[in-house]
Symmetry: C2
Subunit: 214 residues, 2 copies
DNA sequence: AATTGGACTTTTATGGTCTAATAGTCGAAC
DNA sequence: GTTCGACTATTAGACCATAAAAGTCCAATT
């Protein structure tokens, strides 16, 4: 699990890293279901059994890849959070980055995304966990904006939830509209613009006013 | 097609109406694919050929049912538009009604909605037409609000499109999250609340301010 | 002529089986 | 601890056979 003891000749546990890199590349290119464990093993010039030494199942390997992508995304988010700037700007930035992250994530297993009910429960939980993390961060941004007096946010959680929900909805509808087995980068750009536009609309509504309803 | 000449003993073309009523009831209960033409014919105590006398295909019968529902929805929308009241109120009202309409529509063929790509193109066009009509109406509401000075809306079409897009996104994600073959009324209520909440957020942002980005 | 029923044909959906591909295992070797 | 080659167990996909449902036709009734 942790960074194991001592490597012998090759650097450390580079094999694991190699596997993850190859998996990322191939899943990102062909999607989860079209890539076999043999494919990955072959690419790094090793036997399939080696993969199973590091990852108990194909799905857990896939999950590890997702986790990596997400971790990286969260990091760049937190970097952005560290820099000073208005809360609105940070949230807007979040949305832009999130959409790019979505683009990558989607290409990893677009086939499964499209009929969601086939996705294994534990992966759904993973996605849910990701969403929760993001909501916390957005909530943090909003809180900052409120403290700075930029805008008024009745219950922070309610707003951050709504924003996430809206963005997820846009992505969901986008996925539905896709035809081929790949995401069209041009269509994706439209989605991104739409997401930013809606975000601006909502942020605009938060500026200095007590929020309505419920 | 039009209200044909003279009926003999039974009232006018009541058969057509009967068919539509039965179809609405049964599709609404079991979904498009689970109801056969025989079922409908049986319910109104007539032969299947009669159905085909009035409707060339099952899909066109279904479409007629959809059209009815939609027409009714549009009518109640326009009624609401006629009454005086703020644009924001009208839009909020639209959203509430739209969600109810969605509930009905969904139950009509939930199975097909869930894997959208299987839906026949001509039905997709129908839904698109519905959406376009609604966008026009929302645009009209927004325009009214702008004229009244309630809020500022840079390009009306842009905003109405975005609003529709957001609502559609929420519905889309809702469908994805459904498990059984029926919509859980309680979950649906949550969706409706969410839609109203988000609508309020956006409307709030439109109040007296030049809209951002793009 | 408009409308309906009943027998008819054609198309589509469904379940089962069979096979090939792929996930996953095991023990030996280093 | 790490890797490999050969092994087994699952699963996904192709194929087909059968049942059900869509859709057609024509005679009969009004």
């Amino acid at each position: 699990m942790s960074k194991a003891s001592a490597g012998h000749h090759t650097g450390d546990h580079s094999t694991r890293k190699q596997i993850l890199e190859s998996a990322l590349r191939q899943f990102g290119h062909f999607g989860f279901s079209k890539v076999t464990m043999n494919d990955i093993a072959a690419e790094i010039g090793m036997g399939k059994a080696t993969l199973y030494y590091y990852f108990p199942t194909k799905e857990e390997l896939f999950q590890a890849v997702l986790e990596n992508e997400h971790r990286q995304f969260i990091c760049s988010l937190e970097d952005a959070a560290a820099k000073k700037g208005s809360a609105a700007k940070k949230i807007r930035h979040y949305v832009a980055m999130k959409m790019d992250n979505f683009y990558n994530m989607t290409n990893l297993n677009i086939a499964d995304f499209r009929n969601w009910h086939t996705v294994k429960p534990f992966l759904q939980e993973t996605y849910q966990r990701f969403a929760d993390e993001e909501q916390a961060i957005i909530g943090h941004f909003l809180k900052g904006g409120m403290d700075a007096g930029d805008f008024t946010v009745t219950p922070v959680e309610r707003i951050s939830y709504a924003l996430l929900q809206v963005l997820r909805g846009l992505r969901c509808h986008f996925l539905r509209s896709i035809e081929g087995p790949r995401v069209d980068p041009e269509k994706f750009q439209q989605l991104k613009q739409e997401a930013l536009f809606v975000t601006d609309l909502i942020l605009n509504g938060l500026k200095s006013s007590t929020c309505a309803s419920q």
